[in-house]
Amino acid sequence: MALSINLTVNGEAVTKTVEPTCLLVDFLRDDLQLTGTHVGCDTSQCGACTIHLDGQPVKACTILAVQADGAEILTIEGLAPEGELHPMQAAFAQHHGLQCGFCTPGMVMTGIGIARQHPDADEATIRRELEGNLCRCTGYQNIVKAVAAGTRLMTDSES
């Protein structure tokens, strides 16, 4: 039995009917064509599907779409609606924080969460906080650099 949900996705109001078993990540990817949110493990381990739900980074593969009813969702596509990159996005691009890029959207979304929670995060904190996001290509060096740089940019632009 399909249920109707109302939520905000990337600043736009969305009303849709979904199956109660529909995962949020499938809802975003299949119903809204927001395919920048990737699925790497299907089981809440890799972080490729990280999005923001009411401002908090969460893994969209382990949340039902109906649980997002009434919530505000931000996906990677919503970070730079005007085209100019969000500071965290810009930092990833500039610091070579990606190779195949598959983990990147999730990394960026998690990175923003880290920056908000730890505006003066040191390297060890960033590394610890990134443990829920797997990358098989980079070895994390440049990802950590990017999160650090993005955090500085975000803190600077907010102060």
Partner: protein
């Protein structure tokens, strides 16, 4: 720019182009990746009525299918088609080299997880639910699950192979010291973050267009055609990018592409086969598990006189690429060391397990870790520092420069690299500090190891060393670049674009990188063997040069000037004392009816190999590197941590230092995972129990060494490779052997300094603890 004829006031006209070779520019898709706008196969808009596929898997490692009733599957909700071996229109065969790999099990299953039939349904949930309704009876047959059983049963893919030179027997018997031992090395899952996926779209004439996450579009095209029973020209394969490959999408992608194509052809609807992580890990091949035994003789300096290796390689149920992988393990049994009298025997074990496949290093890592263990064993036996023993054995000048396969090493820089790294890192001081730490700490022990890498570059199957490219220059001066290489994150596309930008002397953003497409460049080789930029860079350069030559001819003729007065530079073409922009010249040439499109082709020169005798020059050149790793272990828990890593690595003249550094770093960490935390575990039924990241642990951000310094060794390729660069994809993976060796060093510090701990790979906490216990038990018995 160093042109003398240039008047000083034109200097600003000659600013270097953006993105020429050697510039550390970002990945061509970086902006799209951070914006979530880079499409992978699963992100493409889904055609209407598209079907989702699910493969039902065998629950036995080896069994005969006595009956199969799929009626309930067919009748289940949402199911549109069910495909069994009998429904394959062409050959039910997916073997890349040998025809021993049925696409779907046909009467017999050969590994636990073997796809038996495929359900095509309106949703993946429906396909999966329907598959569970099958009634299949199996008669369980004896299964060979491990290397030992395979060897005992002489279950091999081909007769044991042997490579060598000199008189091993005499050398083993005459030297003052002799040792033997063995090492078990586990396999490794690729864990590309994007799982295997293919989307097949039926077209007119029964043609099929396949979007696949594959490193080998051409082979996939040919295999899909054979499976469909059509000519290759009826199948088009396209791949823009993969979310990682590492060898796991060289041959393995064909399984899913072929099944999607069969479903598409059968139903007339688009069909997508996307594996979830667990199925991906169960169904697809991995790095080969290996057992390596050695028997070695040496002098009092630890210098090897004779050595015999036996390499047992677990290939799985079918050949796939295993013979070439096993060959490469033999080719790298010497790593960077001269072995005067050597024999390498290789047993290619056929087992009832998933068919193992290419994985970064392609057998090389197994060869390398074997000889590095020998170095450690010799050092411990003689009570010498392992670095001293390694240095005593390195390849050198004439007399010490021939490999076990009789190729002369002419580009050896390993003594320089090791020397520089030793000096740079103050090795002696670090060694003393580790000793002092170990003396002061009872429950924590540090270890240190500096190991080299020498890696042969070329496909060892000669005909694969060829590549094609297609370059169009449009009349506005923008460039469309296509070649046979595929992008999996390694930065191939940006490197080749830099080569073309350099050739035309235009900014790299004027060069559009396009999806690899079998309709544009045919009969390509896999993007593998680290050869992507070597081969495709040369082919693209050749294509660009052809167009450039036409432009030069056109100018010379139309302006009546000698060709040597025409020069491409800084987005312009300088003609005598004058210049035009590249774009204007191109437009002019177009109006003058000059062809602005060309193919380019390249084949690696001077390589040859005789597989029967295992001799020749299989490699065009070697890439070198060395790493120093420092680790600490907890003696009570077996936990370990990599504290510091220093790497000096040779990429020749780098095409893009930022990309190359990324490859070195990523390769090292992946190698570290293989040797420390990544453990494949199967049960007595041959069922993989570690089929998700919850049980299979790849490195995370916090596993990375606290200090991690990577320096590119300043070198230029002696061979005429693309801009004298060297391949970089695989060699750094083997630098991680230094981590394993350092862990061994840490455990060995618990003994009297001469005991070799029985530490296998991966060095998980359990493995370290076992080794610790073995050494301490020996201590207590006083028989060290």
């Amino acid at each position: 720019m160093s042109d003398q004829s240039m008047a000083p006031d034109t200097a600003s006209l000659c600013d270097p182009i953006h993105g020429g070779v050697a510039q550390p520019i970002t990945h061509d898709s970086a902006h799209k990746h951070v914006a979530g706008a880079a499409f992978y196969v699963d992100d493409l808009p889904e055609p209407q009525d598209m079907l989702h596929l699910y493969a039902a898997q065998s629950p036995h490692a080896h069994a005969r299918i006595t009956s199969m009733n799929l009626d309930a599957v067919r009748q289940a909700s949402g199911v549109v088609a069910v495909i069994t071996a009998a429904d394959i229109p062409g050959h039910n065969q997916i073997g890349a080299v040998f025809k021993d790999e049925p696409l779907l099990a046909d009467g017999e299953v050969f590994y636990n997880g073997h796809p038996v039939f495929v359900v095509a349904a309106k949703s993946i949930e429906q396909a999966r639910a329907a598959a569970a309704l099958a009634k299949i009876d199996y008669e369980v047959l004896p299964a060979i699950l491990g290397i030992k059983d395979a060897h005992e049963a002489q279950s091999y893919l081909e007769p044991p192979q042997s490579m060598g030179r000199g008189d091993v027997k005499t050398a083993l018997n005459r030297a003052p010291h002799r040792l033997s031992g063995h090492l078990s090395v586990n396999g490794q899952d690729h864990f590309y973050l994007e799982g295997q996926v293919s989307l097949a779209i039926p077209g007119e004439d029964g043609d099929v267009h396949v979007y696949s996450s594959t490193q080998h579009p051409s082979e996939l095209q040919h295999l899909v055609a054979e499976v469909l029973g059509v000519a290759s020209h009826s199948v088009t394969v396209e791949v823009r990018r993969m979310g990682g490959g590492f060898g796991g999408k060289e041959s393995q992608a064909a399984i899913f592409a072929a099944l999607a194509a069969v479903a598409a052809k059968r139903t007339g609807r688009a069909a997508k086969f996307r594996l979830d992580r667990d199925d991906d890990m169960i169904i697809t091949g991995k790095r080969h598990e290996a057992e390596i035994a050695y028997d070695v003789s040496f002098d009092t300096d630890g210098r090897i006189d004779g050595i015999r290796f036996e390499q047992f390689i677990k290939c799985g149920y079918a050949a796939d690429l295993s013979l070439a992988v096993s060959d490469r393990a033999m080719f790298h049994a010497d790593n960077a060391y001269y072995l005067p009298n050597v024999e390498i025997k290789s047993f290619r074990c056929r087992t009832n397990t998933v068919s193992n496949t290419a994985f970064r290093g392609f057998g090389g890592p197994q060869g390398v870790i074997g000889i590095e263990r020998v170095m450690d064993a010799i050092a411990l036996h003689l009570g010498l520092d392992a670095l001293q023993v390694r240095k005593a054995n390195l390849y050198g000048g004439p007399g010490r420069d021939v490999t076990p396969y009789h190729q002369q090493v002419t580009d050896n820089v390993i003594p320089e690299i090791i020397g520089a790294l030793e000096k740079e890192t103050d090795y002696a001081k670090r060694r003393a500090a580790v000793k002092a730490f170990n003396a002061a700490h009872r429950w924590q022990k540090k270890g240190l190891a500096l190991t080299p890498v020498k890696f042969g570059i070329s496909f060892t199957t000669k005909h694969l060393n060829q590549a094609g490219a297609l370059v169009h220059v449009y009349s506005d001066g923008s460039v469309h670049l296509n070649h046979g290489g595929t992008e999996m994150g390694q930065g191939l596309m940006v490197k080749v674009a830099q080569v073309v930008a350099e050739e035309f002397q235009i900014d790299v953003d004027r060069v559009k990188v396009t999806a690899t497409h079998t309709g544009k460049v045919p009969n390509t080789s896999a993007t593998a063997a680290s050869s992507g930029s070597d081969l495709n860079g040369m082919a693209a350069q050749a294509a660009a040069r052809t167009i450039k030559e036409r432009l030069v001819d056109f100018i010379a003729e139309s302006r009546g000037l000698p060709k040597d007065q025409i020069r491409f530079q800084s987005n312009k073409v300088f003609i005598g004392n004058d210049f035009v922009t590249f774009d204007d010249l191109v437009h002019e040439a177009y109006l003058a009816r000059i062809s602005l499109s060309s193919t380019g082709f390249y084949k690696t020169p001077d390589i040859h190999y005789d597989r029967d005798s295992h001799t020749g020059r299989p490699f065009y050149y070697f890439a070198y590197g060395a790493a120093l790793s420092e680790v600490v272990i907890d003696v009570l828990t077996g936990e370990s941590r990599v504290l510091a890593v220093d790497i000096l690595h040779d990429v020749g003249r780098s095409l893009n230092p930022a990309v190359d550094l990324g490859q070195i770093e990523g390769g090292f960490i992946q190698g570290m995972g293989w040797l420390t935390t990544e453990e494949l575990v199967s049960d007595a039924e041959g069922r993989l129990r570690t089929h998700a990241p919850s049980t299979y642990k790849i490195p995370v951000a916090s596993d990375r060494p606290d200090a991690f310094n990577i320096t590119l060794f300043s070198n230029t390729n002696r061979e005429a490779t693309i801009h004298r660069s060297k391949a970089v994809g695989e060699p750094p993976f083997m630098l991680a052997v230094s981590v394993h060796s350092a862990l061994l060093d840490a455990v060995a510090s618990l003994g009297d300094g001469t005991q070799l701990p029985p530490l296998d790979a991966p060095a998980t906490p359990e493995a370290i603890l076992r080794a610790v216990e073995a050494v301490t038990a020996q201590n207590e018995r006083g028989d060290g």
